[in-house]
Amino acid sequence: MERTVTVVPEAGLHARPASKLVQAANRFDADVSIGRADDGDEGLVRADSMLSVSGLNVAHGESVRVVAEGPDAADALDAVCDLLTSEVDGDANGEDDAESAADGGDPT
């Protein structure tokens, strides 16, 4: 199963948001992969790898596709998409915060 969502965290899939997503993907038996929605199957990388996820360099506002396969695929998909669509409060990395503040882009 799969779903396409727009990335909400101001920091994109970097730093804390990436770290949390990888943690979430690792909690499930399902194989979860993620990629830019426009890049098709070839753009998918494994979501349980910090290297792969942060290597995507996905920014806030981009559209990403999440694919999950396995026994708890539905739960895994929910968990990962929840993270992609909610702001990580307060603890985005300093520089990301500084940038969003400078843009007046306060998510609250």
């Binding site: 920091a11 970097h14 770290s19 290297l51 307060g90 520089e95 500084a98 940038e99």
Partner: protein, 577 residues
């Protein structure tokens, strides 16, 4: 003679020969053997062992960072652990080893590719390349030193530098800094980093002169260049001439062992902040009048289960016996949210600085730990020198918390009574770190023996500015008028209550207390005790002796009348920035 400016971190000076610390430079790989000569099974095992050792080192670093500076620094190490366990990296490396490549070459090759991949990306991802290098270096250090029969998580060299070394680095990690020998290292200067960074705080506790955040120009300095590190004025002098060298006070100010009073006779207690057993003796050597903040978190790190009552009792009595005639203020366990202790299974929180921390945990889900700690403390209060013990509750924001904490003390005392165990109830106090506690200070002193202001957190909470976020660093200064007013409100809490029999005292245990340039202001605000990194105690004591308390009080009034931080700095005679 050239002068580079940075941020003075440890207010001492030292002269020595420059030596760059480049932890990555020692990691030269041996020649690559023929694949047929490689025992793949053995190499896979070495890789597994190296990962275990690196994981342990990363967790130590994370705990250390969490203890010293809080969650943001610690979060970096969590990302490091994720890279270490990254399935893609691990699987690729194991496959390469299986093809007949020694573990160190397989690690080096795969990480090099990953670093390259990240460096090609734009924006904040460049930082991730640094994280990858850090993880790679940890692995390689283990793999390369294991050949010589030793396991190290950092180059041995840093703990074994020749006397008179001025250590230069991009930035130092806390674990690097903690390894330094204060007798050998004449000073530290770094390209990056700030005064409240973990490594800077550790350098202060080791009395090593330090200037941080010098910037790119520091890189031009070659090994062996003679340098003066002037941590009081925040400058690094290249090839200092004789006059400059003599002008700089390169000796630590002599310890002032006696207690001090202002010129007109008001006694001010100058105590030390202590965060580990190793810091107790140096604090006594520097002439501190006791311990104003004994952080107990170190007792809980680096282990699988909480310390026993007996272990805690021993640690506290060790501190008491180092200061037999002085007060020792022990803060009860201040963990939660950002400060992680794996075996306590604390909840993941979206905003840990505003979450389950300090007394909130102690009165609720970790009441068992709190009671064990109180038992150890009440018993210690009955030992020799125990009358100097004081117990302080962290992150208080409600009267109910104080009442619950005090009744927990009473019930532990009753239990000990019932068991026939010798004990005494020590002085009890609260740390004032939240605006709520500052607002309620006059009510807190009705129920407690003392208050101690934690300025780092108080500034963070009053100004709503994360102390680890460089983007709001300008907000994080106790000299903002709003923070000064919170301090004033707390310091004034005991005024007019003496008639009711309150003789509570108010102290301060944040970084602000250790700055001799602010001593007059703090005395003027009415503080009775100042607790700081022991290294600054002699300078603060000397300063106290010069102060006239009426003048100090007038200065404080003038500072409190200011509307901006710039005006406050001006009143105090400090530079614009």
């Amino acid at each position: 003679m050239r002068v580079l400016t940075g941020v003075g971190s440890t207010p001492l000076s030292g002269v020595g020969a420059a030596r760059w610390y480049r932890p990555e430079a020692d990691l030269t790989l041996p020649d690559r053997p023929d694949p047929s000569a490689v025992d793949a099974e053995a190499e896979l095992a070495r890789f597994g062992d190296a990962r275990d050792a690196a994981r342990e080192a990363i967790r130590d670093a994370r705990d250390w960072a969490a203890e010293r500076v809080g969650g943001e620094e610690a979060a970096v190490f969590e990302a490091h652990e994720q890279f270490l366990d990254d399935p893609e990296l691990v699987e690729d490396i194991e496959a390469t080893i299986g093809d007949g490549t020694p573990a160190e070459h397989a690690v080096s090759d795969r990480f090099a590719a990953a670093v390259e991949q990240f460096e090609a990306l734009e924006g904040p991802m460049a930082e991730r390349a640094d994280d990858l290098r850090d993880v790679r270096d940890r692995l390689l250090r283990v793999l390369l030193s294991a050949d010589a029969g030793a396991v190290a998580d950092r180059p041995d060299a840093i703990g074994d530098l020749p006397a008179g070394t001025v250590l230069l680095a991009e930035r130092l990690t806390p674990s690097d800094t903690a390894e330094l020998d204060p007798d050998a290292v004449a000073g530290i200067a770094t390209v990056a980093g700030g005064r409240t960074a973990h490594a800077a705080i550790i350098a202060r506790s080791l009395s090593i002169p330090a200037v941080v955040g010098v910037g790119e120009r520091l890189r031009e300095i070659a090994d062996g260049t003679e340098l003066l590190v002037d941590g009081a004025d925040g400058r690094v002098v290249v090839d200092p001439d004789a006059a400059t060298r003599e002008g700089a006070d390169t000796d630590a100010p002599p310890a002032v062992t006696e207690r001090v009073s202002t010129a007109d006779g008001r006694p001010i207690e100058v105590a030390a902040n202590v965060g580990s057993e190793a810091e107790i003796a140096p604090a006594a050597d520097r002439g501190a009048d006791g311990i104003g903040l004994f952080r107990t978190e170190f007792l809980f790190y680096d282990r699988e289960a909480p310390p026993t009552e007996e272990e805690q009792h021993e640690a506290v009595t060790a501190a008491l016996s180092a200061f037999p005639d002085d007060r020792v203020v022990v803060r009860t366990l201040d963990i939660g949210g950002d400060k992680r202790v794996p075996y306590l299974d604390l909840p993941e929180e979206t905003n840990p600085f505003l979450g389950r921390r300090g007394i909130r945990l102690s009165l609720d889900e970790h009441r068992d730990l709190f009671e064990t700690q109180l038992r150890a403390l009440l018993r210690a209060a009955a030992t020799e020198g125990g009358e100097g013990l004081a117990v302080m509750f962290p992150l208080v924001s409600r009267i109910e918390e104080v009442e619950a904490a005090v009744s927990a003390v009473e019930s532990v005392a009753a239990d000990l009574d019932g068991e026939g165990v010798e004990h005494a109830v020590p002085e009890l106090g609260a740390m004032v770190e939240t605006p709520a506690a500052a607002f309620l200070a006059d009510r807190l002193v009705d129920r407690l023996d003392f208050l101690s202001i934690g300025t780092n957190d108080l500034a963070q909470y009053v100004m709503a500015a994360d102390r680890e976020n460089d983007g709001v660093a300008a907000y994080h200064d106790p000299l903002h008028p709003a923070v000064l007013r919170a301090i004033d409100r707390t310091a004034s809490a005991t005024e007019g209550t003496d008639a009711a029999g309150t003789d509570a005292w108010v102290g301060m245990c944040g970084e602000m207390a250790g700055d001799p340039e602010l001593t007059e202001l703090l005395v003027g605000l009415g503080l009775d005790e100042l607790s700081m990194s022991a290294v600054t105690a002699p300078a603060v004591k000397e300063r106290v002796r010069e102060i006239d308390s009426a003048e100090a009080s007038a200065l404080a009034d003038e500072a409190l009348a200011c509307e901006t931080r710039a005006e406050v700095r001006d009143v105090l005679g400090l530079d614009g920035e």
